[in-house]
């Protein structure tokens, strides 16, 4: 969403906000966490599922509704829950009498992580050094990526070298972990938004393959 317009103003934070305003929200959150495991997927695949929700599923049910809808997408794609099964059961819970689709054949991805979490050890040296000028590749991959659109094709400076981690772009599609270094790259606001921008810097954690040496 970086840099998009039309979302309105912010307001001073409230200090008394409950963690879950309604009981179902906590259960939807927990169901999401459990569904990642039940569907045999991973955190990157779950983010990619979230990105593929339609606008209504992403926005109209609120934040935890989005997590619920993401869980549904992962579970249907892994053949754990049939498409439409949740809505059919929900209708029956409220007194309707509709047919529920049978449970499908499980089709979990053929995938196992190389280790816990996302951090990995790599034997190569980092390709870029702290203080080095780099440029993000201007790419628009059809699948998942963690290179934000607003930072594509821009030059910045390596601020910190972070530990190597699983590459989301391939891990989200169960195409291997491709562990590599992650760099916190600092961009000047005017490089990203033009000469009229507020003066500030923005950093992002970028995977090695998102970057090339800036000339």
């Amino acid at each position: 969403m970086g840099g998009t317009r039309g979302w309105g103003r912010l307001h001073p934070p409230r200090g008394d906000e409950p963690v879950f305003a309604e009981a179902w929200q906590g259960r939807a959150f927990a169901l999401f966490l459990l569904s990642v495991r039940v569907s045999g997927q991973n955190i990157d695949a779950s983010r990619h599922a979230q990105e593929r929700l339609d606008a209504a599923a992403y926005l109209d049910d609120g934040y935890y509704g989005r997590w619920l809808n993401t869980a549904e997408l992962m579970l249907t794609e892994s053949g754990i829950v049939a498409p439409g099964a949740i809505n059919a059961r929900a209708r029956n819970l409220s007194g309707d009498d509709v047919a529920e689709p049978p449970a499908p054949e499980p089709a979990r991805p053929d995938y196992a992580p190389a280790g816990p979490g996302s951090l990995r050890t790599v034997t190569t040296a980092p390709a870029f050094a702290v203080g080095e000028r780099v440029r993000t590749r201007n790419i628009s991959p059809p699948g998942h990526t963690r290179l934000p659109r607003y930072l594509r094709g821009h030059a910045g400076v390596v601020d910190l070298i972070q530990p190597a981690a699983v590459l989301p772009d391939t891990n989200a599609h169960f195409q291997g972990e491709n562990p590599q270094y992650v760099y916190s790259v600092r961009f000047d606001s005017r490089e990203v938004w033009g000469a009229g921008a507020e003066p500030f810097a923005v950093t992002a954690e970028l995977f090695e393959t998102y970057l090339e040496r800036a000339s």
């Binding site: 969403m1 169901l31 459990l34 209504a56 949740i86 972070q162 923005v202 954690e205």
Partner: protein
């Protein structure tokens, strides 16, 4: 259309949540007790009080502060805090002239072990979109006016690295103990959208 539907035909998410829980439970794929446990954990034991303890320790123990800034994950673990969404935590210090503020433009990445689940404003599309393009304006709307000479660095959490802001200790708190400082440290200051106010 039934009584369960909202005007646009969508089934309320509360009902859909109950339906999914039933579907997975009756096939033995999940245990409802596991759901209870997750909900209770994030409602009671994982929240911004953890981060406040880290900050208060750093304010009162210079050696801890140094360890925290050098290896946030390890220093935070010293106080017993680790787990999901805290695999690698980097701590940045806010001062009178440098201000860090954290956002996730791609989703809602947030350092759960020290701050719990994110508040509503952190997940607001307006925050996610505008913090990386006009942070000074956004912070002012949220009630934090920064002087023109303060350098702002926005931290967009795009990987599994998580950021925690070490806020500036407010003047006039020199006599307070670590325990007395803890309740002063707000979640908002540890994300960088507020400063810690003196009591």
């Amino acid at each position: 259309m039934t009584a369960t539907s909202e005007p646009d035909g969508r089934i309320p998410p509360a009902l859909r949540t109950e339906a999914l829980e039933q579907l997975l439970t009756e096939r033995g794929l999940i245990d409802p007790k596991a759901i209870d446990k997750i909900v209770t954990t994030y409602e009671t034991s994982v929240g911004p009080l953890n981060g406040a303890k880290v900050v208060a320790r750093a304010w009162t123990d210079p050696q801890y502060r140094q360890r925290l800034l050098e290896d946030g994950t390890a220093a935070i673990k010293e106080l017993g805090f680790s787990g999901s969404q805290g695999e690698h935590i980097v701590v940045m210090e806010n001062t009178a002239t440098t201000h860090n503020v954290v956002v996730c433009t791609l989703c809602s990445c947030y350092p759960w072990p020290v701050l719990g689940l994110p508040p509503s404003w952190y997940k607001d599309p307006a925050y996610r979109s505008r913090m990386v393009s006009e942070p000074r304006t956004v912070l002012a709307e949220m009630g934090l006016e920064l002087a023109d000479d303060v350098q702002i660095t926005v931290r967009d959490s795009t990987s599994e690295v998580r950021w925690l802001v070490l806020p500036e200790r407010p003047a006039g708190t020199e006599h307070l103990t670590e325990e007395e400082l803890v309740p002063l440290v707000s979640r908002d200051a540890m994300v960088g959208v507020a400063k810690v106010a003196a009591p």
